[in-house]
């Protein structure tokens, strides 16, 4: 269970808003996504069952991987002498894998709240970049959007934003999130209750998530080969590992974003000259 970042899942009992329904009374929550004019091809009319199957096909393996990591998280909680139920409570509410692993150590040590706030902010600041290209406009209901934002973990971002948004339905996206959230929380229950006995002797299961990211990177590259972007991202990642081995993700993403801004500036200056 080394993989700290695993992303977590959103809050506890996921209300599982079925795709195109649920205009709840929560207007202010509207994530401000403006692209409501998008055409939503009959997708929203499909039965929820097929949305679920589509999510299962594309994300089922990831749900399983997250479930296994959740077990690791639950084991860690009891190993720190904390009550087992803290595992599902934290995994369901914070739902941001990597920081949860760190939080457990901080709670056990009784760390000051300011330190906990700073740690959470630094480790999760990578999420500032996810909303820039996540296809939130494919989800119609406010509750659904709110839930998607709440549960926007690394895996959900990676799987959903790498696809052509037109092939996604809101229901499928929500199910993808719910499966991850549920897998993480139920894994935490199991790990918390069984302690170190189950599966924890199997080395290498957390590789599933690394494999997922590799697959997504290969896919994204093959579908639109862009060597410069890949190299900029790879170099940003390596630089971040060398600079701050403990929290490379937000640093890598910030460095990468800076290189993209520079790249855009250079490109537009060139085209202006031409």
């Amino acid at each position: 269970m080394s993989a700290p970042h695993t992303a977590s899942l959103p809050s506890a009992p996921p209300p599982a808003p079925p795709a195109g329904t649920a205009p709840g009374p929560v207007p202010e929550a509207a994530p401000g996504d403006v692209r409501t004019d998008d055409v939503e091809p009959a997708a929203s009319e499909r039965p929820a069952a097929s949305d679920f199957r589509a999510a299962l096909r594309s994300a089922g393996v990831i749900w399983l991987g997250i479930f296994v990591l959740g077990i690791g998280f639950g084991v860690l909680v009891t190993a720190h002498g904390l009550p087992w139920w803290l595992a599902p409570v934290i995994s369901a509410t914070v739902f941001a894998g990597s920081v949860e692993f760190v939080l457990i150590g901080l709670i056990a040590a009784g760390a000051p709240l300011a330190g906990i706030a700073l740690t959470t902010f630094l480790m999760n600041s990578r999420h500032l970049f996810y909303g820039l290209s996540y296809p939130l406009h494919r989800i119609r209901s406010r509750w659904g959007r709110l839930y998607a934002i709440f549960s926007l973990c690394d895996e959900a971002f990676a799987i959903l934003s790498s696809r052509d948004p037109r092939t996604l339905t809101g229901g499928r996206m929500i199910w993808t999130h719910v499966g991850m959230h549920a897998g993480w929380a139920t894994g935490a229950v199991l790990g918390g209750l069984t302690g170190a006995t189950l599966l924890s002797g199997v080395e290498g299961l957390d590789f599933i998530l690394t494999a997922l990211f590799i697959v997504l990177a290969v896919d994204a590259y093959l579908s639109r080969p862009d060597p410069l972007t890949a190299v900029l991202a790879g170099v940003s990642a390596v630089v971040a590992i060398l600079l701050v081995p403990g929290s490379m993700l937000p640093v890598a993403m910030a460095v990468f974003l800076a290189t993209l801004v520079a790249r855009f500036a250079i490109a537009s200056r060139r085209s202006r000259r031409a």
Binding site: V61, N124, L152, T229
Partner: protein
């Protein structure tokens, strides 16, 4: 065990900060979305982020473990090869993880 009040405060802080971080770009994006810079950046972003996540995953490999990282690196190579070959995400993940598991548990 820490006091219930402390635990509730920790969870509230972690949930609040995480949610605000996730929400912020959606609130900012509409204003930015029409700009040429934003369009360009969001076109490059998904590939770059998954590359960073992949490098991150590889960086968590424990080279001091008995296999010295060989199981995970072999799994990574298998994942790439199977994926380029079949372009089936589930198959690639299962194949790569299987290679890693077999090497880590049965060989080393």
């Amino acid at each position: 065990m820490p006091s219930p009040g402390y635990i509730v405060a920790v969870i509230a802080i972690a949930v609040g900060i995480t949610f605000v971080l996730r929400l912020t770009p959606f609130l900012a994006a509409p204003k930015l979305r029409d700009s040429a810079a934003m369009t360009a950046v969001s076109r490059w972003m998904p590939l770059g982020i998954v590359v960073i996540l992949a490098v991150y995953g590889l960086s968590t490999i424990d080279f001091s473990a008995p296999g010295h990282g060989v199981p995970a690196l072999s799994g990574a190579a298998a994942t790439v090869l199977v994926h380029v070959w079949r372009r089936n995400a589930v198959l690639s993940i299962v194949a790569g993880t299987a290679v890693c598991l077999v090497l880590a548990n049965l060989v080393f």
